[in-house]
């Protein structure tokens, strides 16, 4: 209808306008003032000197490790009433952390008070530290674990939940910066609305699976705002964690004052050493930095080895694991873009950001 074509102008313009707003938002944020030039060394120092220990924010974390999505698989193995159900759910929640993406909220007020919330669909997992009290709460099954920290262990158990924050993770990478790492500075970036230096760590090693690690260091405070770990041969980060919003205000004290709600299953757990603290493997997605008994190699080529568990078959017989692993000489291997895990036939577990051959060699030693 020639006379009325102009009535369709709004319909044509609306998507364009929305596209402009969406893209414009991207442009607008990238247009924030660039921070002053700094050398890589200066940025490293800035990050090291960061004193921010009171903040709250929202964190997005996602992984692209080349693993299948096992969330459905985990559920079915749970309800399948397998004999080793606790192992199965441990494993599936560990894998869930590795494969799914998460949104977290963190509230930190000094080293003594913190709260991390993993926002699941229709559920939430909380880790609250208030002085000597450590609470883990899981709303999906209304369970809580309570531990009391020994008076002298002021920093140890923070590993549980805070290792998911960019700051904690970045510190681990930055602590590990050694001569085997090239440190450069990329173009300034904007993370959570703040301008930041883009610190790029490139391993000098040829055997590691890690191609580079990018850390956004807040230009103002030196607080790491995001960490992206890139694997060899991929352009998307294999692991990504970043603040989507950040406030440096002191969070409300109520948040750290946790009393388990009525009807909750509360387990008291002693804390003999730091390994037992993180319940249900809910701790570290980056298993490469997992606490370990045996460490071989250095820098990017580090390999960790867990001694044989009491019943090796419980691991290898798990239907989920047999789906994920492939059989190799001397055991089963779980290969991700960033991390290789070898489960030897005698039940030892070796892991590292290295090709499987290196693990096999280490296992053979």
């Amino acid at each position: 209808m020639p006379r009325t074509w102009h009535r369709w102008i709004p319909a044509a313009a609306a998507p364009v306008a929305i596209g402009a707003v969406v893209l414009g938002g991207v442009f607008a944020t990238s247009a924030s003032a660039d921070p002053a030039d700094k050398t890589p060394q200066q940025v490293l120092e800035l990050a090291a000197s960061s004193t921010v220990d009171t903040f709250s924010g929202t964190i997005e974390q996602s992984s692209n490790l080349g693993l299948p999505d096992v969330s459905g698989l985990g559920g079915s193995s749970d309800s399948g009433s397998s004999s080793d159900s606790s192992d199965g759910s441990d494993l599936s929640s560990a894998l869930e952390l590795l494969t799914a993406s998460h949104t977290l909220r963190v509230y930190v007020d000094g080293p003594e008070q913190s709260r991390v919330q993993i926002l699941d669909d229709m559920a939430e997992r909380d880790a609250i530290r208030n002085g000597d009290d450590l609470w883990l709460y899981d709303s999906s099954d209304s369970t809580a674990v309570h531990s009391t920290l020994p008076a002298d262990a002021s920093t140890a158990p923070d590993a549980s939940a805070e290792s998911l924050t960019p700051a904690e993770l970045a510190t681990r990478f930055l602590d590990a910066v050694d001569p085997s790492t090239d440190v450069t500075i990329g173009d300034p970036v904007t993370v959570a609305g703040r301008s930041a230096y883009d610190l790029i760590l490139t391993p000098d090693s040829s055997t590691t699976l890690v191609s580079s690690v990018e850390i956004a260091v807040d230009a103002d405070t030196g607080l790491p705002l995001s960490v992206d770990v890139f694997a060899q041969g991929t352009s998307d980060p294999a692991f990504h964690v970043a603040f989507t919003s950040l406030s440096l205000d002191t969070p409300s004290a109520d948040l750290f004052d946790f009393t388990p709600p009525a009807g909750t299953d509360v387990t008291e757990k002693a804390l003999p050493n730091r390994d037992d603290a993180p319940a249900e493997g809910s701790a570290t997605p980056d298993a490469g930095t997992h606490p370990e008994p045996i460490v071989t190699g250095t820098g990017w080529d580090t390999i960790v080895e867990l001694p044989a568990s009491t019943d090796p078959s419980s691991l290898t017989d798990s239907p989920m694991l047999s789906q994920l692993t492939t059989s190799v000489d001397g055991g089963h291997v779980l290969q991700t873009t960033l991390l290789t895990v070898l489960i030897t036939d005698d039940g030892r577990v070796l892991a590292g950001a290295v090709p499987v051959e290196s693990l096999q060699a280490a296992a053979g030693k």
Partner: protein, 289 residues
């Protein structure tokens, strides 16, 4: 038809300026809520939490271990029944009723041949679209509130009522929990704005209301299926159903508002795009029904 004196003076006075349409909006609401169909749909929605509560009450031997944890928690606190009802109703029942109202909006008028009389009244095509859309929004709100209120009432009747445990493990009082229930109903209303706009547009495409209703409902199901497929992950944030279950964020401590905001923004995008499409179609359409 005694054509005695149809021009009695006072009755023939006309407004000199055109009214904004508040009267017509009121009339639209009256038509919507005078239909037995509307009440049947609201009653059906109210039945959802009531059935859940009764079923749980009868078989309250313990937790089933399946389904959302809400369903289990209603035995401990009746105030959860409304939320449980909304959770169950959001994927299908709510889109169904909203699809009926939005799909019927223009096509239904065409079908009863009232559309041409409204237009020569003249109501103005844009004004008709806006009023129809607003009426659909009012229905969304009524539907969500019906679910909430029916749930809360049956919950109070059948289960103990007390402070409510949030997902974060914190506990809030009854007043706070009622406010959150209201917020969740609002969230559900906002969630349905996009679907209402889609339904309005589809309704301008046809004179067969049943077809427009069915198409709208089918689209809401397609959107949810796409939202659950990992192959279409890139599309997920753009699907109008993407944040439908995000109201759980209102049950955290502190309230996580970002999903409310993102949801509202996404729905606004749908309203703008499909509102413009509906305008394009309806304002250039020949009314031949």
């Amino acid at each position: 038809m005694s054509s005695s004196d149809p021009r009695a003076s006072g009755l023939n006075a006309r407004r000199t300026t055109r009214s904004l349409g508040a009267g017509f909006f009121a009339s639209e609401l009256a038509v919507l809520f005078r239909r037995r169909r509307t009440w049947a749909m609201l009653l059906a929605l109210a039945a959802v939490p009531i059935l859940i509560a009764v079923a749980v009450r009868i078989s309250s031997s313990g937790s089933s271990g399946r389904g959302p944890a809400f369903i289990d928690s209603i035995t401990q606190n009746g105030l959860f029944v409304g939320i449980a009802g909304l959770t169950i109703a959001i994927p299908l029942f709510l889109p169904l009723t909203v699809g009926v109202v939005a799909g019927d909006s223009i096509a239904g008028e065409a079908n009863t041949a009232t559309l041409r009389y409204l237009l020569v009244s003249p109501v103005g095509r844009i004004r008709l679209l806006v009023v129809k859309y607003l009426a659909a929004v009012v229905f969304c709100l009524a539907a969500a509130l019906t679910l909430s209120i029916a749930g809360i009432l049956i919950g109070i009747a059948l289960f103990p009522v007390g402070p409510v445990t949030l997902l974060s493990g914190d506990t809030v009082g009854i007043g706070d929990s009622l406010v959150r229930s209201l917020l969740i109903a609002l969230y559900a209303t906002v969630s349905l704005l996009g679907l209402s706009a889609v339904g309005l547009f589809i309704s301008t495409l046809t004179d067969a209301p049943v077809g427009a209703m069915a198409a709208t409902v089918v689209l809401s199901i397609v959107a949810q299926v796409l939202d659950s497929l990992s192959q279409t992950e890139w599309l997920h944030p753009w699907l109008f159903s993407h944040y439908w279950l995000g109201f759980a964020d209102l049950l955290r401590q502190p309230i996580e508002w970002s999903s409310f905001g993102q949801n509202a923004l996404l729905q606004l995008g749908y309203v703008v795009v499909f509102g413009a499409l509906a305008y394009g179609r309806f304002s250039s359409k020949d009314i031949l029904s």
